[in-house]
């Protein structure tokens, strides 16, 4: 589904990602951990094609196509969907209308979809105008439900969300990834086989792991990926030892440089 080779990205001339290699298979959910400022969001923004994230080396292949330089809408139409953490307000554009645009002409029951994320009362409100943290998340999810991406990029599903909303967000992300309702009686094996939507999710708290079947995880540290393991294991490890442990996973030539970096 997604293959990233030796990706180097600079933001305003400052190198942030320093050689990322990552591949995510169809139906696989990958969790990205890492301290603040390590480059996680930069990776997601670069995959989506947001301006200001300059690829200086390397390649991004999605569904066999090189999208390293592709415009955002092409990536979206190919099947990449992203939940923005701080999306802009668009005055005069009702959220329901944007959801319709996300479907690109597909017949949808927008009101019904909105009800599943408790957003039906917000469809007439302008996009992100005065939305709370939880409302932004639900609005993003509703747009993604209409968009039906094959690769879901999600930056911190738990940020700014209370516990009740977390359950709703978590279950909705799971539905997006599974492509079927929770109540569906498919066996685990059937679920795995039918699942074709991949996910790349950034988390600090790990709450999202309560809801989604995360297959693999890795830690981003100072613009590099290290410590691949099962996401739960990584989370436990970080909880016990912090990110200092990651230093040991990185190559010797990086060691000194990383040690100088402030740990947040």
């Amino acid at each position: 589904m997604l293959e990233i080779h030796d990706l180097h990205v600079s933001v305003k001339g400052t190198p942030v990602l320093k050689g990322i290699d990552l591949s995510i298979r169809a139906g696989e959910t990958f969790i990205l951990f890492g301290p603040n400022g390590s480059g996680k969001t930069t990776l997601l923004m670069t995959l989506m094609g947001v301006s200001g994230y300059e690829v200086t080396r390397g390649q991004i292949i999605f569904k066999g196509k090189d999208i390293t330089r592709a415009p955002m809408y092409e990536r979206a139409r190919l099947g990449i969907g992203m939940s923005f953490q701080r999306p802009p307000t668009i005055h005069g554009l009702p959220t329901g209308k944007l959801v319709e645009l996300c479907g690109r002409g597909r017949q949808m029951d927008i009101a019904g979809m909105a009800r599943t994320v408790h957003f039906d009362r917000f469809l007439d409100r302008d996009v992100n105008a005065g939305f709370s943290g939880g409302e932004i998340k639900r609005s993003e999810l509703l747009q993604l439900m209409a968009q039906r991406p094959d690769l879901l990029l999600f930056d911190e599903p738990e940020s700014g969300v209370d516990l009740e909303n977390m359950a709703l967000v978590g279950q909705t992300v799971r539905r997006l990834l599974d492509g079927m309702p929770d109540t569906c009686s498919a066996t685990l094996r059937e679920r795995e086989r039918r699942r074709s939507t991949s996910g790349l999710i950034i988390t600090h708290t790990g709450h999202i792991l309560e809801y989604v079947n995360a297959h693999r995880g890795q830690v981003m540290y100072h613009g590099k990926l290290c410590c691949e393991a099962r996401p739960r294991e990584i989370l436990d490890h970080i909880a016990n030892h912090g990110y200092q442990e990651c230093l040991r996973c990185l190559a010797g030539d990086m060691y000194g440089k990383i040690a100088e970096a402030p740990l947040l």
Binding site: A76, F84, P87, I90, H91, G92, L101, C102, R104
Partner: protein, 387 residues
Amino acid sequence: MSTVDLSRFSFSGGENAAPVDDLTRLPAEDRQRLVLAGIDVHDRQVSGAFMQLNHAGVHCETRRDGLDLMDIRAALKKYDGLPQYYWQLLNPDKDDFTRMAHERLNGGYFVRARRGVRLTEPVQSCMFIKGHGAGQSVHNIVVVEEGAELHILGGCATAHEARDAAHLGITEYYVEKGGKLTFTMIHNWGETTTVRPRSVGRVDAGGVFQNNYILLKPVGDLQMYPLMELAGSGAVARFNSVIVAPSGSYVDCGNRIELNAPDTRGEVISRVLTTGGTVINRGYIGAAAAPAKGHLECKGLIMGGGRIHAIPELNSNQDGVELSHEAAVGKIAQEEIEYLMARGLDEDEAASTIVRGFLNVEIMGLPTPLKNAMDEQISLLETGRAM
């Protein structure tokens, strides 16, 4: 802007033009121009309709009790010169245009919603100019008596072939105690039309004046600065304008509200888009009584050249007033474009979606055919060279 030489225009002739009993029988080309000025001649959901062609009132029908609608000249005769309304809010000596309208009155309408009568279906009023060098100087009087409600859809247009025309329009609005007036005006002038409306209104205690103004088409030279005086406690005035200025348009316009009684509220909201034209976007809220609240908002987008000069003014010497303004002139935020592109819209689709939202004529609550006509205009605008 340079002064206008009014002697270029012909302010008389054709006063006895044949009446048009059925507006649907107007030539298709004229009807099309009228639709873009907000007048759908097929719309039967109206309380009344009035049409002025150059210097003649050619159509006038009233469909509801409690509604008076007639040519201003007929009203002056019938009501002994309308002494309580005619030239009461404006001084004829204000400028060349008021003087001309005073000396050479050649039409306009008198409309009145009688005490307590609530007319929810709009009254259509239409000012139409045909021919070369035609000058139209009209005087309108709008009266909403105590507790009454009136909606007016006012369309102003020039015919397709009209060249170098001038429209001078005096309008006096009277919203009496507890009355409610919604006045939606849509302009569809030509590239060579000179337009000088001069409007003043007074809102008494508890009255509401809501004004919507839409200009999506080119206009040669338009200057207007309607004033609404809130004279009684609890009165409210809101101006909502959407202005698009393509290359060649010169628009100097704004809205002025004077909060002259306690507990009054005023709001001036304007959205301006230039795609090559010039817009001077004024706004003034003054408060001579407290408590009073006012808010001014002028937002402008420059796309493909042009100029926007925003001049918001607030003025008061009263303790306890709350006046604010917000002005911005700029471009579409890249962040907004990219957000929509991440949902699969290409750059043009994203830009036009944002411009449509920015102009937001939706909130004016226009009748469906009219709303569709405005939407279509906005689409044309976006698919053109503007983007």
